[in-house]
């Protein structure tokens, strides 16, 4: 599966997601729905069926498995995710929450998503994104917890301190615990 479009595509355009090759894992039906069909004036309202949106976002995460992510660099996945959140707001975030919280996507892709959710400039979805990042500090996967930590670091919001302190108290990975403490110091300073 691949997301049509290329890195030269303007970031305000949402690429069409379509099935172009078979994978080894059964994939939910992916329609040719264009998210850009959503009226611009209703940026936080998605008028397509929830199933269609779920399939599209699941496909985007599935395609993300094939990418090699690097800190500081944009990817097709990150550009698509950012556009999706800006276009579909809470509806998109609800699907992303299901995929990440119920561990239906690869930890590396979930981690990349969380890093980006912390840096997207979209005021309407800020509180939802912050909630998801704080919630993801308790993920089973340390890679996902690290993605959440980096997302919160981007937000630089003091209100996350109490959630970080809870996460520190139960963190079993010493390197991650040290990075969490570092972020608490940053937020308290």
């Amino acid at each position: 599966m691949r997301i049509s479009g290329s890195s030269t595509q303007p970031t305000n355009m949402i690429p069409t997601v379509r099935l172009v090759s078979s994978g080894t894992r059964p994939i939910k039906a992916v329609n040719n729905d264009k998210i850009s069909d959503v009226p611009r004036e209703a940026s936080t309202e998605f008028h397509k069926s929830p199933d269609a949106l779920y399939s599209i976002i699941e496909a985007i995460f599935w395609a993300g498995r094939e990418e090699c992510f690097e800190d500081g660099l944009q990817s097709t996945f990150s550009k698509t995710l950012e556009s999706l959140v800006k276009e579909c707001g809470k509806d998109a975030l609800e699907v992303i929450t299901i995929l990440i919280v119920y561990e239906r996507v690869e930890p590396e892709v979930a981690s990349e998503a969380l890093r980006w959710l912390g840096r997207i400039e979209h005021l309407e979805s800020y509180e939802y994104r912050r909630w998801l990042l704080e919630r993801s500090l308790s993920s089973f996967s340390s890679r996902v917890r690290d993605g959440a930590l980096l997302g919160l670091s981007s937000m630089d919001d003091k209100r996350s301190i109490k959630h970080l302190k809870v996460a520190i108290s139960r963190e079993t990975n010493s390197e991650l615990e040290a990075d969490m403490k570092s972020l608490v110091e940053q937020l308290e300073s």
Partner: protein, 163 residues
């Protein structure tokens, strides 16, 4: 003895409790994603043994990015490379931070077997560290303010935050 710095993602090098089959002394294969070679060479940066140029190297790395983010890196002693037969060659960096570019090096003539040994070296002997996004931004701002980097050479997303 100087050190070598390689940009990584720290979380790929964890002993990950969500990978129950992974034994304690084993590295996740995903970590090799941080050691992608080009023409059998790998980009690294030379860091003084007192780490006095560490921040400059971090700024050089950050200045080539699309946006400001944390920089995770592995830092290990140059001398350890001789034990695994990997050679180092000077190769001027191509970052907007020209003063730092002479610290760039290539690890060359890397075979697949040597790459695995390098991964093991990083796993067992390297310090794996993180410079947070906020500090990276501060370092870039300082470099621009001190005219070490011309803001026009930065990607727009970074330049916007520096202004």
């Amino acid at each position: 003895m100087p050190l070598l710095l390689r940009k990584i993602r720290k979380s790929k090098w964890y002993k990950n409790e969500s990978v129950p089959w992974l034994q304690e002394d084993q590295i996740q294969a995903d970590a090799l994603g941080d050691l992608v070679t080009s023409s059998n060479s790998l980009s690294v940066w030379l860091v003084n043994d007192d780490q006095s140029n560490l921040e400059q190297v971090v700024v050089a790395l950050a200045s080539t990015c699309d946006f400001v983010s944390n920089i995770d890196y592995a830092l290990f002693k140059v001398e350890l490379l001789s034990g695994i037969g990997i050679e180092i060659e000077p190769n001027e960096g191509l970052t907007p931070y020209s003063e730092a570019n002479h610290w760039h090096r290539d690890l060359t003539r890397i075979t697949a077997r040597k790459l695995i040994k390098l991964a093991e070296l990083i796993y067992t002997d390297a310090q794996r560290m993180r410079i947070p996004e906020k500090k990276v931004l501060g370092l870039i701002k300082d470099a621009v303010k001190n005219k070490q980097i011309d803001i026009v050479d930065l990607q727009e997303n970074i330049a916007k935050k520096v202004r």
